[in-house]
């Protein structure tokens, strides 16, 4: 783009006149107006030469405004900025350190190729400046230069100079140097460098620990991050680092506090002394609690991280459950996290106040929160055996309110409790059945049907109740159909005399009128089973399922360890490894693409694994790659999605009601391999499955079951979860 002719009329013409005024104030005022126009996206590029004339001034404020103008046009019209290079270079020799720093900083962010060649000499000078403010500004400038032209940084020996500057007497210079080196390191890694450009040595660590207490909050974060990259040589050194970092817990800045916690979590791994580890963990509690006095957005980030920390160290906040009690006015995202943490902290000692809180929440106005609260009651019941009865009583009271969504959610939760404590709370069943008419959500219906089927022997009018669902069979959703099918077969196996007709009817409808292959297949399998060997059918369908447990972690142990190292980064907030949601910024476009194909491979692997139903460690890893969990139509993006995905809903664990066909098949045939494998790691799940399918299934229909459609991914993952829970 060529330089334009000076404007002849209009506002810019007047401005041009003022910029050339003989009065200083008038010129300065004109510059301000130019900037004002620029910030509202008016084109003032035509005034470039006039503005440039005002760059030589001893008025620093005016100089800054001119620089602001230059920076704005550097990107679109770099050739114009070249005109200003001389002034920049001259300014780096100015007696005023502020001017020197300003000049080098501005040159650094002009990002124009042509200006960079002029940058190196002044930068060399400024890195050795007497004034610490100039030195620390220059240090950051090196990182920017590296971003544009890494070879220049290496040729000029700036890297070595930065490494020397870690020993600077001024802590702020040290901090900025660390920031610059970290930036360069990240950029180098993103562009594929194998050599570590910023090796943190013992020597450096000692210098950083000295500077740590002296610099600004931002500097502290940078230094702490560098410390977290260091691998201590022995336990003594780990202890030393922890000791020096612990005082940062008392910093007023939440970011410093959480980064310090990260450093401790990392270096605590190297400490052998049990008592010291305990002390460190005890010291972590107060700063975490203090974070909750912050505004909601900070609370949320803190809560997400606390949730993660608790998965690794459940003992951190044992006595602090009360601070997580929800206020009516808390934003929903804060309440949801608090609920999750409260369940994690629940023990038999604090379960009473917890339950009374949860009951209170379950009567609030916000439907979503109410449902989660009821789920939390169920999780508490599953987690703490002693409290199960109290939980059931609370649920019964809630069912008594007859608010539709409360009742439905409570029914779903009750089913989980039956899974955990079989044949314990049968007295509740009549109450549940009394609410049959109020259920209109598939999950609640399916849950109740499962309960009826499971306890068919003890429910006198089970055939009547199930008959209702058999009559409307084709109108129900598939999960309900599947449950109805299984429940009727269970009923038939326990009370053959009264339900002969019913089972005939449901098998007929399911095989003839149903349009879901899964439902048809299951009906065929049952039919074969029943007609060939009722004894085998009994062994399969009425097998004793192992009780479910609450997963202690929502992510796999390996991932947890990785995420803890990334506290308090976005990864730890999303509870996902960084690669799944961010690229490597501007530089790393192609490396991201590589990552993308990796992910695609992973997805393929996921499906393959699904087809073979390989459980165990591999299945657990699959959970890490859930990068395309569908968004449930909620507006809030990734964060909301992860909240949903990470809720350790015990409901997900229940094979019986999941909409994924695999779960049900496995729950049917699980018994076959179950006799042999009661250990948590499945010895041979394939065997059990193979047994189920090959000899019995009608030839054409089985394969579709085994290749779930791509959109079924998330359920498939929960399906994997189920497998783990089952065996």
């Amino acid at each position: 783009m060529s330089m334009r002719a000076p404007p002849r009329k209009g506002e810019n013409f007047e401005l041009a006149a003022d910029l050339n005024s003989e009065y200083k104030e008038k010129r300065k005022d004109a510059i301000k107006r130019v900037i004002a126009n620029m910030t509202v996206q008016k084109d003032v590029s035509g005034l470039f030469p006039d503005v440039l004339k005002n760059m030589q001034t001893d008025d620093l404020e005016q100089k800054k405004l001119v620089y602001l103008y230059l920076m704005n046009y550097a990107k679109t019209q770099p050739e114009l900025v070249i005109l200003a290079v001389n002034t920049f270079v001259k300014d780096t020799d100015d007696p005023n350190p502020l001017v020197r720093a300003l000049a080098i900083r501005t040159m650094g962010c002009l990002r124009a190729e042509k200006i960079i060649d002029y940058l190196c000499d002044p930068l060399q000078k400024c890195l050795k400046d007497d004034n610490p403010y100039v030195r620390k500004t220059a240090a950051l400038c090196v990182a920017k230069l590296y971003d544009l032209k890494p070879e220049l940084v290496i040729e000029n020996g700036f890297l070595e100079q930065l490494r020397d500057m870690i020993a600077d007497s001024n802590p702020m210079v040290v901090a900025n140097t660390v920031e610059a080196l970290s930036d360069i390191h990240i950029a180098a890694v993103a562009s594929g460098a194998t050599k570590d450009t910023f090796v943190v040595t013992t020597d450096i660590v000692n210098k950083l620990l000295v500077a740590l207490n002296e610099c600004s909050e931002w500097g502290r974060v940078a230094i702490l991050n560098a410390l977290s990259r260091y691998t201590a040589e022995d336990a003594g050194e780990s202890e030393h680092i922890c000791e020096r970092v612990v005082p940062q817990f008392q910093h007023a800045n939440a970011s410093v506090v959480l980064t310090a916690i990260k450093v401790i979590m990392i270096h605590m791994r190297g400490i052998n002394s049990e008592s010291l580890t305990k002390t460190l963990i005890r010291k972590m509690a107060p700063p975490l609690v203090t974070l909750l006095s912050n505004p909601p957005e900070v609370q949320w980030v803190a809560l997400r991280n606390i949730n993660l920390l608790l998965q690794k160290r459940p003992d951190i906040l044992t006595n602090e459950m009360r601070v997580f009690f929800c206020k009516y006015n808390d934003p929903l995202y804060v309440k949801v996290e608090k609920l999750d943490i409260m369940v994690r902290l629940a023990t038999e000692h604090n379960v009473d106040p917890l339950l009374s809180e949860l009951k209170e929440y379950a009567q609030e106005v916000d439907v979503d929160f109410v449902r989660r609260s009821i789920k939390a009651i169920g999780q508490t019941a599953i987690k703490i055996d002693e409290a199960a009865e109290r939980c059931v009583n609370v649920l019964l009271e809630l069912i008594g309110t007859r608010v539709s969504y409360v009742v439905q959610e409570a029914v779903v939760v009750m089913k989980d409790i039956f899974r955990k404590y079989p044949s314990t709370y049968e007295g509740v069943i009549p109450t549940l059945c009394a609410n049959l008419d109020e259920l209109d959500e598939p999950e609640a219906k399916a849950s109740l049907i499962w309960i009826i089927g499971e306890y068919a022997k003890k429910i006198d009018n089970a055939d009547e109740l199930l008959g209702i669902f058999v009559d409307t069979f084709t109108e129900e959703s598939y999960p309900v159909q599947l449950q109805t099918l299984t429940a009727v077969v269970k009923l038939y196996l326990q009370k053959p005399e009264s339900s002969q007709g019913l089972v005939q009817k449901v098998l007929n409808t399911a095989t003839k009128d149903c349009d879901s292959p899964d439902v048809r297949d299951r009906a065929y399998i049952y039919w074969r089973l029943l007609s060939t060997d009722p004894g085998a059918a009994k062994a399969v369908v009425l097998a004793v399922r192992p009780p479910i447990t609450l997963p202690r972690t929502t992510v796999s142990p390996a991932l947890l360890e990785e995420l803890l190292g990334e506290i308090p980064l976005l990864a730890s907030v999303y509870h996902k490894p960084a690669e799944t949601f961010v690229g490597r910024g501007r530089i790393g476009a192609d490396s991201m693409q590589r990552k993308g194909t990796d992910l695609a491979d992973d997805r393929l692997a996921t499906q393959k694994a699904l087809q073979t139903v390989a459980a165990g460690q591999q299945a657990e890893n699959l959970l890490d790659f859930d990068d395309d969990v569908p968004n449930d139509g909620q507006p809030s993006g990734l964060a909301a999605t992860t909240v949903l995905a990470s809720t350790p809903a015990a409901a997900n664990l229940l094979a019986g009601t999941s909409s994924n066909p695999l779960d049900d098949l496995v729950s049917i045939f699980g018994s076959a391999s179950l006799g042999a494998t009661s250990s948590p790691a499945p010895a041979n799940p394939m065997g059990g499955f193979g047994f189920g399918t090959s000899p019995l299934a009608p030839a054409p229909a089985v394969t579709p079951v085994l290749s779930p459609q791509p959109p079924a991914q998330p359920q498939a993952q929960s399906g994997q979860d189920d497998l783990l829970g089952l065996f």
Partner: protein, 430 residues
């Protein structure tokens, strides 16, 4: 790893000011503004929008996240890309808002537009284009960006302007103490401490607090010459828990003797934050809620009635500006109430909230409030708790007092002042 930039939006969602974004395409800030505005539009309650929004980038390879906060009528956005610390962004946003307040007092779109040159200078000085916060300590900032004071305006009219004119600025950052500028001179040496405590409590139906915590902070305004080294001894310091401090405080001294030893920054700053834990026998130390609210709420079809009695538990102090609020649930259309002692009440049809406002609650009296409300909903579902806000001037829950302020390093005797104010934020369930 860093912050990409900073954007300030007015209450209609339009950008007032934004930092450079020099290394990003010009559409980048727009994408973030757009993402936030559409998230707000899609959310039934504005406060329920996640504070970190995922923003799909221009191309699929570079997604980013938008951290945002709302302070007053303005929203502050902080786009971040790469795996960064959202707290870092939030901490920076808060720091920046504090700086703006320090410079302009009350913040509004107009103030920022009128002082755009200062705002842009602040952007430049506080945030490096590579995303690193630079100078954020108000003490140091005032040296390099002049606040819009009257004096400054007069000077500029007189033709003496800019920083070169001020002798104190020839050596900025020359001070050996990063948070305190060198060469400060006052005719009257004085330092003030504001102890502000907030009671955050949830009270169950039976009047027993489920949780009740007092969060406190000590704000200070320091006008002392030279480099004073202060030693502050306070009564009751043992009951202050979970403290966090301004970097100037020597932590070892606090850990050892529970005294605050520090060289203060000049001007206003927050000395410490703490949680007040009264010394009690029980393991869970709870602060007492200073009032009793007897509630009677009955909900019928299309409406309900409310009967409240509020009395203070304090013996001498008066509670001021007491607000008792109840959200009446979706569909609430109106209310008709009667409050004793000439207290006022309002119903806000937009937020469906009923507010009972008492200017002062004296210790001996009982304040009553009776009324009914109507609703289009057949079974109105009002919120399960009254939210009560109040303040008690000249009072602290922790009864913390400054016993002694010793000054070393300088020869003058400073005047010291301390003021306490307490606020309450209580949810009372019915």
């Amino acid at each position: 790893m860093a912050i990409d930039g900073l954007i300030i939006l007015d209450n209609t969602g339009r950008a007032i000011a934004q930092s450079g974004f020099h290394s990003f395409p010009s559409a980048y800030p727009l994408l973030h503004i757009d993402a936030l505005n559409s998230a707000l539009a899609n959310s039934p309650r504005h406060t329920d929008v996640d504070p970190v929004i995922y923003v799909q980038g221009l191309n699929l390879d570079t997604p980013s996240a938008c951290c945002h906060i709302r302070r007053g009528e303005l929203r502050y956005l902080c786009p971040v890309s790469g795996d960064v610390d959202p707290l870092y962004a939030f901490a920076f946003l808060q720091t920046f808002v504090d700086i703006l307040r320090e410079y302009f007092g009350h913040l509004s779109a107009e103030t920022l537009k009128d002082n755009f040159d200062i705002v842009y200078q602040l952007f430049e000085e506080t945030l490096d284009s590579g995303g690193h916060p630079l100078t954020t300590s108000p003490n140091a900032l005032r040296d390099i960006v002049l606040p819009p004071t009257l004096l400054h305006k007069v000077l500029s009219v007189a033709g003496v302007s800019g920083l070169a004119s001020s002798s104190a600025n020839s050596h900025p950052f020359a001070s050996p103490i990063p948070w305190r500028k060198a060469g400060v001179r006052y005719n009257n040496n004085e330092i003030y401490f504001d102890v502000i405590e907030t009671l955050e409590a949830i009270v169950n139906k039976n009047g027993q607090p489920a949780v009740s915590t007092v969060w406190g902070s000590v704000d200070s305004n320091c006008k002392l010459s030279g480099t004073p080294d202060l030693l502050l001894t306070s009564s009751n310091a043992q009951s202050l828990m979970d403290c966090s401090f301004h970097p100037c405080v020597r932590l070892q001294r606090w850990a050892r003797d529970k005294v605050l030893s520090f060289v203060p920054p000049d001007g206003k700053f927050r000395l410490m934050d703490y949680r007040f834990a009264p010394a009690t026998a029980s393991a869970v130390s709870q602060a007492a809620v200073p009032f009793i609210l007897r509630t009677g709420v009955a909900v019928d079809e299309h409406g309900g009635s409310i009967d409240l009695t509020l009395s203070s538990r304090l013996t001498t102090r008066t509670m001021e500006n007491v607000y008792v609020e109840l959200y009446l649930g979706e569909g609430a259309t109106g209310a008709n109430c009667l409050a004793s002692h000439n207290a006022s009440w309002t119903f806000n049809p937009k937020s469906q909230t009923l507010v009972w406002e008492l200017k002062a609650v004296v210790p001996s009296a009982n304040y009553t409030f009776r009324g009914s409300f109507t609703s289009t909903a057949e079974n109105p579902r009002p919120s399960r708790a009254f939210s009560v806000r109040f303040e008690i001037p000249q009072h602290n829950f922790s009864a913390i007092k400054i016993e002694q302020l010793k000054l070393t390093g300088e020869v003058y005797k400073p005047y010291k002042g301390m003021r306490g104010t307490s606020f309450g934020n209580v949810e009372w369930r019915w």
